[in-house]
């Protein structure tokens, strides 16, 4: 039976690109290019909506819980943090208060929620260091355990994170990743960097299935769930969710906040303790197990492989354009343009079009994250306009080459 529970949540809001694509004036400066690329009005709208239904109530709930002894680890994309800084200082202060608490551990994530690790590992290391500085500046804490983007992990990503100096990292404990191993132990892949494997079944019971009326576990109560956690075989259970699970993916009227409110007490009643990731590494680090990692990254999205992001022709086209933009921006030697190219590497631009040519539950999840406003363009229009954004950026780089 598992003795400890580690709860990790990640907060992210995409920096959505502007569709239909805005033509960029010839010779435009970086600031004007930026305003053509990103739909900040839409981003603000979604930010405020999610803040109202999720960030405020969930943060208040977590703050109460950690004061009562619950332990939480939390990762912020800089994409989210910049929006909070721009549009809601009060919310940011609420998060700062939460993160300051001794029962809360700050976890690193790739700052722009990008796939830079698929493109340039050296740069990925720099970006993670930059994110660490950014988080320290905002929260006064530095992450020692880290996530990436969409919990991607591979052999090379592991080595990069180890090189970046992290003590631990997270990955999704899918069967194809774990093989015969259980997700309930601490692992390593040959370097000092420890690996926490997310229990994807137990995590998804809450993250995806909580409000699914056709699920056999519905309705899920805190006591039942705590029992399932305790029944897991191993040292600990590592749960990871989108922060937006609370109030956004599952609205308040599903009972998600009541579930959250009662979960810590039920976990304790079942004899489990809470740990932060660092505490888990400290406790179990001396006997971590070997976990060979694949060259192909795993992810917590979809069925656990990169096909969720690169599996259809539209995604492959956008990814090619991402590479062109990144490398061409580097050629300009202008940091502001390079920064824009990093934003355009944001994984959401691939996530949002996973539905193209597909059906089923994964496509439904992808379509859920596609902004409602985009559907006016029709599926084909979304695909072509999205690519046009990248082409426009490439055109805008020309005068700088």
């Amino acid at each position: 039976m598992a003795n400890d529970l580690i709860v990790y949540t990640v907060i992210h809001q995409p920096r959505r690109i502007k569709l239909p694509a805005q033509p960029i004036p010839k010779g435009a400066g970086p600031e004007d290019i930026e305003r053509c690329l990103f739909d900040e009005r839409m981003n603000e709208r979604y930010f405020r909506k999610v803040a109202k239904w999720c960030y405020y109530p969930a943060t208040r709930a977590f703050t109460e819980l950690v004061e009562e002894g619950f332990k939480l680890s939390i990762g912020f994309s800089v994409s989210f943090l910049k929006q909070a800084e721009m549009w809601d200082q009060e919310l940011l202060a609420l998060f700062q208060r939460l993160v300051r608490h001794e029962n809360v551990e700050l976890v690193g994530v790739e700052p722009y929620h990008s796939f830079i690790f698929l493109v340039d590992l050296e740069r990925f290391i720099q970006r993670m260091e930059w994110a660490s500085d950014y988080l320290y500046g905002l929260f006064g804490k530095r992450p020692v355990v880290t996530d990436t983007t969409e919990m991607c992990m591979s052999e090379s990503i592991y080595h990069a994170l180890d090189r970046a100096g992290f003590k631990g990292a997270v990955l999704d404990g899918r069967p194809w990743v774990m093989g015969w191993r259980e997700a309930t132990h601490l692992y390593n892949a040959g370097k000092p960097l420890k690996l926490l494997a997310r229990d994807y079944e137990l995590s998804d019971d809450v993250g995806y299935r909580f409000s699914n009326r056709s699920w056999s576990g519905f309705p899920l109560s805190a006591d039942t769930y705590a029992h399932w956690l305790r029944e897991a075989r191993g040292d600990f259970v590592f749960l990871a969710w989108d922060y937006e699970t609370f109030g956004e993916h599952h609205s308040k009227d599903t009972g998600i906040f009541d579930f959250l409110r009662w979960l810590p007490a039920e976990v304790r009643r079942n004899g489990m303790d809470f740990l932060t990731p660092s505490e888990a590494i400290a406790k179990y680090g001396d006997h971590s197990y070997d976990l060979p990692l694949s060259a192909f990254p795993s992810t917590w999205a979809g069925s656990g492989g990169m096909e969720f992001f690169l599996g259809n022709s539209a995604q492959q086209a956008v990814f090619q354009l991402m590479l062109q933009c990144y490398n061409t921006a580097l050629l300009t030697g202008k940091p502001e343009l390079d920064d824009l190219a990093l934003w355009l590497l944001q994984s959401d631009n691939l996530h949002l079009i996973q539905w193209f040519g597909r059906g089923g539950s994964e496509a439904e999840v992808s379509a859920y994250f596609t902004p409602d406003e985009w559907w006016e363009l029709g599926p084909g229009g979304i695909i072509s306009e999205q690519q046009q954004v990248y082409r426009n950026f490439l055109g805008a780089l020309e005068p700088y080459l």
């Binding site: 960029i24 435009a28 305003r35």
Partner: protein, 444 residues
């Protein structure tokens, strides 16, 4: 209580257009129309906002006149990359206009007006604003403000009609146009526009300097003296004009045709055609931009059948030419309204118009109206008028009278009446009370 009429006390106007009052924003007649229309609205006492692609080097917001005319120079950040004028970087500007102007209209104009219990009349001009005015309607509707606004969208020509979402536009806006000819064309796009004619400024009726007129006639010695001005566009039927000169020469007359075209390539075809017809063509250039410079240029031009004026023509000089000519050839084959014809009439000139959008033109009363593309038709009418000078004078007088009914102040009456009609239909204005007439009472 709802008002029953539109007045400066309860209504403000928003005129949306790509072209506008700045020199940067004037590419054709639309800029002039917007400048004149908005000025006339402000002069009548309406708070009037003009949102247009303004000069990037002028203030973004400016209030002019007596404080009622508010200029909003839009797309300035885009225009800074495109110094050549309003239509350079057109698509970039269009995107920005569509994206940002509707929010501004709602947040900064309609909402505050609604809070003061005022109505906002939004007038969109040309295809460039069709999307923006549709979005404004959607935004106002979503925000509970649609009933505070009356929205008109106006077509001054058929340009880029294929880029308009007509279903959406006609659902969200009342479509207007400038002539019955345009109305008939637009039936084909599934809409039945209201017709509100174009206008001319009151100064277009000012007396013309008769000594300058006499000087032009004496200098050019045309018998008859013709004149034509406009873009070198086949729709303007330039070839018909030069062929008319050849016909008149063939009839034993000594016509002279000064022309002022644009930079369009069709000009080369027109000049080539004139030469092929055996006409002599001379380019004329001026040393300055004043009326005196123009008159001097004509004086030193020498003799030719066609004088190709390759210099800037100030408005006063153009009006002198309108007045001096025996016939101003505004003979377009497709003219949504034909403002030039009306301007000719305002100067007391004799306009030879086509017979499409020129609703104001009544043949042999205030102008000569051409039913065909046959240069012989022009030549015949010119010869007739040369032989009947008194008829010519009657037409000049009739022309001036007609033009006076098209000054902006008069056109505004028409515009306001139609706004009121639509506003009552929308329930924005209360139904009009009708006083019983003396003879029509129930006891009569």
């Amino acid at each position: 209580m709802r008002a029953s009429q539109v007045s400066p006390a309860n209504t403000e106007f928003v005129v949306m257009s790509f072209e506008g009052p700045d020199q940067y924003s004037k590419a054709g007649g639309l800029g002039v129309r917007v400048a004149e229309l908005s000025a006339a609205l402000a002069e009548r006492g309406f708070d009037t906002h003009v949102m247009f692609v303004g000069d990037p080097n002028l203030p973004a917001e400016e209030t002019v006149g007596d404080g009622r005319l508010h200029l909003h120079r839009w797309c300035q950040w885009v225009s800074r990359y495109y110094p050549e004028g309003v239509y350079q970087g057109e698509n970039e500007k269009l995107y920005d206009f569509n994206e940002s102007a509707p929010w501004y209209v709602m947040d900064k104009i309609v909402r505050p007006a609604a809070e003061r219990g005022r109505i906002v009349a939004i007038l969109g001009e040309e295809w460039h604003t069709a999307e923006a005015v549709s979005r404004i309607s959607d935004l106002l509707y979503r925000n509970g403000l649609r009933k505070q606004a009356v929205q008109f969208w106006n077509a001054n020509n058929t340009m880029s009609f294929h880029r308009i979402n007509w279903g959406r536009l006609t659902f969200t806006n009342t479509v207007t146009t400038v002539s019955r000819y345009m109305k008939h064309i637009m039936w084909g796009f599934g809409c039945d526009p209201l017709v509100i004619p174009n206008g001319i400024p009151r100064r277009a009726l000012d007396p013309v300097d008769e000594s300058a007129v006499a000087s032009v006639r004496a200098t050019l010695k045309g018998d008859p003296l013709l004149f034509k001005i406009g873009r070198f566009d086949p729709d303007k039927r330039w070839n018909m004009a030069v062929e008319t000169v050849a016909r008149l020469k063939g009839m034993g007359m000594r016509p002279v045709l000064p022309i002022r075209g644009g930079i369009e390539p069709h000009g080369a075809e027109v000049i080539g055609n004139a030469r092929a017809l055996g006409l002599t063509v001379k380019e004329v250039r001026a040393d300055g931009r004043s009326v005196a410079d123009c008159l001097q240029a004509l004086a030193s031009a020498g003799q030719a059948d066609v004088l190709d004026l390759r210099f800037f023509l100030p408005d006063d000089f153009v009006r002198i030419m309108y007045r001096a000519a025996d016939a101003v050839l505004a003979n377009s084959g497709h003219e949504p309204f034909g403002l030039v014809g009306l301007e000719v009439m305002g100067a007391g000139g004799i306009a030879f118009t086509g017979s499409t959008g020129e609703d104001y033109a009544i043949p042999f009363e205030n102008s000569m109206v051409l039913d065909t593309a046959d240069p012989g038709e022009i030549a015949g009418y010119v010869a007739h008028l040369q032989n009947h000078p008194s008829e010519k004078e009657e037409i000049r007088l009739g022309a001036a009278r007609t033009a006076a009914t098209f000054v902006w102040d008069r056109v505004l009456n028409n515009l306001v009446s139609k706004l009121e009609y639509i506003a009552r239909k929308q329930g924005v204005l209360a139904a009009q009370e009708v006083s019983p007439t003396l003879s029509g009472g129930r006891d009569g």
